[in-house]
């Protein structure tokens, strides 16, 4: 029962904030509304017993990506009172395409949490993932490689951002 309530709460939060992000005239407010959507998705991950994914969602999407979006907005010239029609059209197109793409899957899906026994069993995934990271024949090397990839991403991104553009102010 609690899960059902939580599901509807997160569903309302996700869709409501997504609509707000879509319909708001101010892009900055849209970005803040996106926070609710991303947190709602994290709630769904919790309900699906994917706690590592939920943690990552909060940390990276609600934390990092959103900051990046906001800073990206700060870098662009201010846009207010933008026409909403185009955005709505794009949203309808994306949702429609998604619905078409997943129609077969969705039709075959069992919507009433038939897998509940499976979901109730695991006591979180973080420990298993951590143990897999430690095993030499498993994910140890990819784990280390991830840091190299992150390093390359960091250096590359900073290098590109550092190129000087003609500055207009101060």
């Amino acid at each position: 029962m609690g899960e059902v309530l939580a599901f509807w709460f997160f569903a309302a939060l996700t869709i409501g904030c997504a609509l707000l992000a879509l319909l708001h005239r101010n892009v900055v407010n849209s970005a803040f509304a996106l926070l609710g959507t991303l947190l709602g998705l994290a709630g769904f991950y919790v309900l699906l017993a994917a706690d590592f994914l939920a943690m990552t969602q909060v940390l990276i999407y609600a934390g990092g990506i959103l900051v990046l979006i906001l800073f990206g907005l700060m870098l662009t010239p201010p846009v207010t009172n933008e026409r909403r029609f185009g955005r709505i059209l794009v949203a309808v197109a994306v949702v429609g395409l998604g619905a078409v793409a997943f129609w077969e899957k969705a039709r075959g899906a069992v919507w009433h949490a038939a897998a509940r026994e499976e979901l109730a069993a695991p006591a979180g995934t973080v420990r298993e993932i951590g143990l897999e990271f430690l095993r030499r024949d498993s994910w140890l090397l990819p784990f280390e490689l991830a840091s190299v990839v992150l390093l390359a991403g960091l250096v590359g991104a900073v290098y590109i951002a550092r190129r000087r553009f003609p500055r207009e102010d101060v």
């Binding site: 899960e3 990046l68 870098l75 006591a123 951590g130 143990l131 095993r135 992150l150 000087r164 500055r167």
Partner: protein, 139 residues
């Protein structure tokens, strides 16, 4: 397992309650004098010129990207930290576990050293032409 999230919920509710209670308390206690100066963003400081929304410096973005990379690092280290104590007790993989995590952090520290040395983290820097990058004199 949902019980584990009770503390998350408590944190969330406590955080929200803190904000709401303080706002309500402030509204009840504070005097309401609506004069022009009191409604300005900087009540006793500079006069505001123009909108707060102008094109900010690209360095904000650089800092945000550095932050994002280290957030991803934390996401990777989180499961590792979760089992580290357990692994250290297990003896056979304890050393590997510790070295693995330290190497992971060390590799990313190279990235931090890079942006630090190149001066991307220092806020005040000159933009004079001719000075080699990263060796700008701080003003």
């Amino acid at each position: 397992m949902y019980f584990d999230y009770a503390n998350v919920l408590v944190f969330l509710l406590a955080g929200m309650a803190f904000v709401v209670i303080n706002l309500v308390l402030g509204a009840l206690i504070r005097p309401t004098r609506r004069d022009r100066a009191g409604l300005e963003p900087y009540e006793c400081g500079e006069d505001v010129i123009g909108s707060a929304w102008f094109r900010f410096d690209i360095r904000y973005y650089t800092v945000a990207m550095v932050y994002l990379v280290f957030a991803v690092e934390v996401a990777f280290l989180f499961p590792w930290a979760r089992v580290l104590k357990e692994a250290l007790r297990a003896e056979d993989i304890g050393g590997v576990a510790l070295l693995e995590g330290l190497l992971f952090i060390a590799i990313l520290l190279l990235g931090l050293a890079y942006v630090w040395v190149k001066g991307d983290l220092s806020w005040v820097r000159s933009f004079r032409r001719g000075t080699p990058r990263g060796h700008d004199k701080e003003v």
